[in-house]
Symmetry: D3
Subunit: 206 residues, 6 copies
């Protein structure tokens, strides 16, 4: 889709028109103020999901932050990895639940329902991954993700050896930790902005 400057403004205005209330503490960008590259992301997300996740609106106010956040997010969640995309979403939901992040539990809970294709397991992980009916590999992943989420985390040699013995490469271990820790960061940003989940997330994937 070729997106001219004029067309962009119109598309974005259309997209946000239905939003009535401020969805995060610091407000959101005016559609006109969005730089081209970010506007395109809005449009393509709207095309894919039917709505713009509120985290985009919130970060849109500061384009440099938007770009840095979304790029790192995509490296971790969509880049090459030994972890499946559903496993990565499971990490996000488990950590966000431990951190009780309202926005992330809802948005990534929806993503996990969609990617994991198991509504019941997705709910169980959101409630408490420790008592969820997890397959062994996912239990190992979430056990380590939860360790990373602890304040003052520093991995012991025994933990790393255990993960190696369970079939995880250095890169897979790195990915578990990076996703868990990055969403510890993201959870706090959502907590800062009192980010509200979009209505659509509550029913998505059910």
């Amino acid at each position: 889709m070729a997106l001219s400057q004029g067309a962009r403004g119109d598309s974005i205005k259309l997209i946000v028109m239905v939003k009535r209330t401020q969805e995060s503490r610091f407000g959101e960008s005016a559609p006109e103020a969005l730089p081209n590259d970010i506007a395109e992301i809005f449009v393509s997300n709207h095309a894919k999901l039917g709505f713009i996740p509120n985290v985009f609106h919130a970060y849109g106010k500061r384009p440099e932050h938007f770009r840095a956040f979304m790029h790192y997010h995509d490296v971790l969640m969509r880049g090459p990895s030994d972890l499946t995309r559903a496993e990565r979403e499971a990490i996000v939901v488990a950590v966000s639940s431990e951190n009780r992040c309202q926005y992330c539990m809802t948005a990534h809970g929806a993503a996990l329902r969609v990617l994991g294709k198991d509504v019941k397991l997705a709910e169980q992980i959101a409630n408490n991954w420790r008592t969820a009916d997890l397959p062994p590999r996912l239990r190992t992943i979430l056990t380590f993700a939860s360790r990373v989420n602890e304040p003052g985390f520093a991995a012991t040699d025994d933990e790393i050896a255990h993960l190696h013995a369970s079939g995880f490469s250095d890169e897979a271990i790195w990915d578990i930790a990076a996703i868990a820790a990055f969403f510890g960061f993201s959870n706090r940003m959502a907590g800062l902005m009192d980010m509200r989940p979009n209505e659509e997330f509550y029913t998505m994937g059910r």
Copy 2:
């Protein structure tokens, strides 16, 4: 400085030659394997500091992660902000101390001594920011940074109102929180890799 492929390889080999032991759990990139853009960052950092911080070696193994991490780091620590660079380093040191991150306390402790030009205060913040002889503005900043670092952080309206009343804009509040939370992420990555501080950091800025 125009850096040809050949010259780059030589520069990097020279730079890392003095390192004898593995400085993080997952090892480091072979100089030859570094992509050009990252090799240039190595060279320019060596030119500025006289050494390559071990965090560069560690992330160098995965170039996409290197780029995402360093870019976000630079947006937060060097981008436009109401916070001075010394104030930002003080946030990093205070949070890294709460999280007891060996690498970050040492590396950013050095940076704070250099940027803050007050060795004694830098040490006090590394020990315990609460009992450090802080100017009022920095006490407000670190009090909020420490709140953000708590597990399950979600800002209350009262906290935000108090920060506004103390003269902090939405953007400044965002920056305090983003730096505190990003380094909570970074602390965990250093803890994952058991990253060792470079010798040079111990004496820098004294």
Copy 3:
């Protein structure tokens, strides 16, 4: 409905026939072994819900415990009170979420969706009542319920005075505390038995 001994056995057998796996650590009562009064409760619950909540199966193994538990439950959750039934379920969900009780979050999450007629708010309370969009009265209720749930809880005079000033009678305060504390007990029993939520709860009330 008059329920003869023979008819009872048949009804119960029919009801449990569809269950294939053991739903709690200590197993469940054989339908034949259920005393009459408990069998009637099974039948009437099945008539109302279309299934028997697994907590009934689990407690059914020890009829005296079944009776004591269900009676106290009904006094608290259905007896006369200044609290609405939806408010009472909100207490159960908030406390069960703090205690991360897999069974209770799912079963009472469903009940709250049905009784509270607000799916979104029910989800928010299950995620984190503190950042949910609560009306002021419910915020006061859940704030106190969460206090009661703390280890070593003992109410201060100030807390009670604040609740009185917010319009809560001694009886209402008692009910908030009794429901919160009773479900702290119930959460632990579900955690003891590793009680699994019925499938039906996941979709009920959506």
Copy 4:
């Protein structure tokens, strides 16, 4: 003893006459207001102990709650069980001590002195069961009771297997957990009402 309505009122009035101060935050029932069945419990307890435990006065204000609480209490503490009555009181004292419940430590401390016939051990359990001179079976019991008392308790398969291997049946494990968890509930109700121990408890059983 046949207890006519008139006689009951007189007995109760006599019994409570010596009480001078309000013994819990929400007060206590007027003797005249007690229903017959509860009045009989007052009279029989007075006959046995020489006084009415303040928990009876406190719950007497709400007869339905009194009945539900006392019935469940009796199922757990006096019903059939693999645990001796002294072992059950030891659980109550250990848990109430962890929860620092003023009323329960005093009242059940007295009961443990009487039932356990070992004043020194009863004191040690009230102080800290971990460093008390416990026989191995009681150490196993209290170790598990203390686990149940943790916030967010969910038993692991290993814990249950260890208890089985130590000679505890499913029913005995259930009883340990149910008593520990029920008194976590009871401790919080005493903390709600700021329940004061009767003077008699301090010297009973010494």
Copy 5:
């Protein structure tokens, strides 16, 4: 009383003769090995109490430590102070209870019963000073003692100002803190040695 070397040995032997079992993990000094000055303390304590507190036996193995400990103890507990001796024992009991020190709760619980002349209040403080029926001055003292006992304690200016406003001098504040912190040290030494309370303490002062 003039105590000759020979007489001393005999007195001590007589005193310890009745002890049958090792009362702390590292054992105790042979009576013959006690230096003169410490032997005299044993004799005088036996004369006063009728027994030797096990803490004396435990420290007697290392005379220099015995002297340093007992001297500091006496400066704090018997030296000049704005605090009464009963108030000082109340601090010891409250802190030892928070630290769950088996020996100190028993030994100093007995001392508090004797010095405070209020068995019930002494028991309440041992159970939980927060819910004890404390006079306001003692509540202020124990509130601060408990603060000092927190890990990482550093007094705020507000706390000190509050204590001044409540009538406490710098020296009284110092004494509260020093007693609370010294017994945090002492509690840990008793925990190290698994020190057992003398039988006599259980009944003393009742």
Copy 6:
């Protein structure tokens, strides 16, 4: 050096003349008010270090406390022991860091740099002993010291057996625990007095 009464006063006045600001919350002794024995300690410390540590000034206000504290300190830190003086300072730094004591981290951090002759390791221990490059014997020592520092510490038989098996005698175990616990006491006194580190400590031993 023979120190006459007159000479003492002059020496002390000279020594403290350079101090301009109050270095602890409760102030410090006037030089004239110091008893002879304490004045001599001031003079000899000044001769050795070139300054008087502020802890001496703070305790100087109450000579009996000064003597008891310094005597116990010297028994533990300079008396006969299986632990080297550097190992003892490492315990102090590790515990003071866990307790975040501003004064003790600085003063004993300096002492550890001097006695341990390893600036880098001293810094690492001050940052986080767990991730420091410790030799195995020192890791064992600090692991146990940290255990002692936990609230409610009571050693288990297994811990003591492990220490014995690692080559530590009863006396060495005692010394580790006594130093760790004594400085838990000392940290709290420094926190009470808001004791400020002398400037000299920041550079000493680098």
